[in-house]
Symmetry: C2
Subunit: 304 residues, 2 copies
């Protein structure tokens, strides 16, 4: 009896031993799965988009802050908790008669409808006071929890402008090369106009707009700035209106992959990420723009 | 000899069998690791932020489009490839004398610096023509690859406004309850003011701004709109300037978790996601605003 039990035990152990390689195989599969998952998550969760087929080589880690994912225990909306504790004062706004409201709205539309993205900017100097004032205008923008998470870096130093141009053109060239492959070699001349950005040298001012993704407080504690990208983009919109209002031109650019290098060049702190670059000046005499149209009102507005 | 080999083999097998539970344990650990990883990645890759300590219950999947991660083979910058094929026409812009530029920039600052987020909006009617014009202004904004990825839904129907209010207050209440726990019960009255949004009923117009995260083309093929969130936020900035310019008030809101329900209510297509809601009207007679200050120029501008 005892012998039979021992034999059974031995047989069972033999079966287990036999299964050992199976377990090993399962472990290997699991390890592979983990590694794959790791690779996937590196992209920041954007894999859901079916349009993106290959690991993106250009993703600018420095630009990622997932501003869309903005909730945290204790945070809501744009509402500022500190704001709640502030004293409330009566609001007094300007009030225009109806007729004037209509004409003001029409005139503002006519002014802004003349705005175009202009890539040909003259070297002619622009008064610094105008630049100061348009940045003051941008600073009146609303922001999530009134964090005002923006830094406007105004570059007028020719050497710095040129260094910025070098960095941007270098990255652009890499982007084009990677992207175009053979086609690029064949069509070099046409493409060259895409990554050569002369306006970065000629424009009297470059405004680099940084978003502060978190605040640095006295205790060195980070305070996440929710909605920082939306807030700073709104401020850019208001800045564009201010630029158009004084008769200067710009082109809205988001230099790809250049954020970290430009941040270091301009000695901005780690909590700031480049969002946009606007070259500012008068248009060149021979400036041209593509003959594009805007959607009519009925294509952008729905009334319920 | 043969016996010894057999005995050795048996001993080895015994050792392997002995190790079987170890393998099983390792497998269990690996499974747990995978499950944890899965949970983590659900949040969309924002776990890098150390300030977020718990699984966020409010993440609005509908709001996530990772606009920051915008590169794809064949896409660059705001540049439009189709734009390149367009005819180029000479650009003619308005040019003001320097003195006038300075005064225009100053006056525009003074106008926009009076803008405040006002939560007390009168029911007094506002001319529709003014609303049309301010949306026309917003439509002049630049956008990535000139996609103009915005839809402005203007709600004037009182029932729809009330339904919007119900949805937003319901979600807000859930947010507050979840977030505040016991504290909420104790401090109900003060908090109530946070989620009761009377202006959604009283404002003569609500403008709900949707971003089109992709375009739907004839062949039913999706075309991703890169930079759609930044583009639409810029348009919102220009819209805010247009609202201020006619003497109306608004408050910039981003209704949390309400996007999908409001999209369905307003019968917007699946490629549109709610970005912002702006109630528009005259301020109430007793409107108040928190007594907050804006950063001075030297805190937001750096000159290089």
């Amino acid at each position: 009896m005892q012998f039979t039990v021992k034999a059974k035990l031995q047989r069972a152990m033999a079966i287990f031993s036999f299964l050992t390689p199976v377990f090993a195989a399962v472990i290997c599969i699991l390890i592979v799965m983990i590694v794959q998952r790791k690779r996937k998550t590196k992209g920041g969760g954007s894999e859901r988009k079916d349009s993106i087929k290959e690991p993106r080589p250009w993703v600018d880690e420095d630009l990622q802050d997932n501003t869309d994912i903005l909730t945290e225990a204790g945070k809501d909306d744009w509402q500022d908790e500190e704001e709640e504790n502030l004293q409330h004062i009566p609001f007094t706004g300007m009030r225009y008669p109806e007729k004037e409201m209509v004409s003001r709205s029409k005139e503002f539309y006519e002014l802004l409808n003349q705005r175009r993205s202009v890539r040909f900017i003259s070297a002619e100097p622009v008064p610094r006071e105008v630049i100061n004032n348009i940045i003051r205008v941008a600073g009146t923008s609303p922001s999530g929890a009134h964090t005002e998470p923006w830094t406007f870096v105004v570059v007028e130093d020719p050497e710095t402008k040129h260094r910025i141009r070098e960095i941007i053109e270098e990255e652009e060239e890499i982007n084009y090369c990677k992207r175009m492959g053979d086609k690029w070699v064949n069509d070099l001349k046409r493409l060259r106009t895409n990554w050569v950005k002369e306006y970065l040298d000629t424009a009297p001012f470059l405004i680099l707009i940084f978003k502060q993704v978190y605040g640095l407080h006295s205790s060195n504690k980070k305070k996440t700035h929710y909605y920082n990208e939306i807030s700073v983009s709104i401020a850019c919109g208001i800045l564009l209106a201010a630029i158009q209002n004084v008769g200067l031109v710009t082109v809205t650019t988001t230099p790809l992959n250049c954020g970290p290098r430009l941040r270091v060049l301009l000695e901005r702190p780690v909590n700031e990420k480049l969002l946009m670059l606007l070259p500012i000046g008068y248009p060149s005499k021979d400036a041209t723009v593509p003959d594009l149209q805007r959607k009519p009102l009925e294509d952008i507005m729905v009334v319920v």
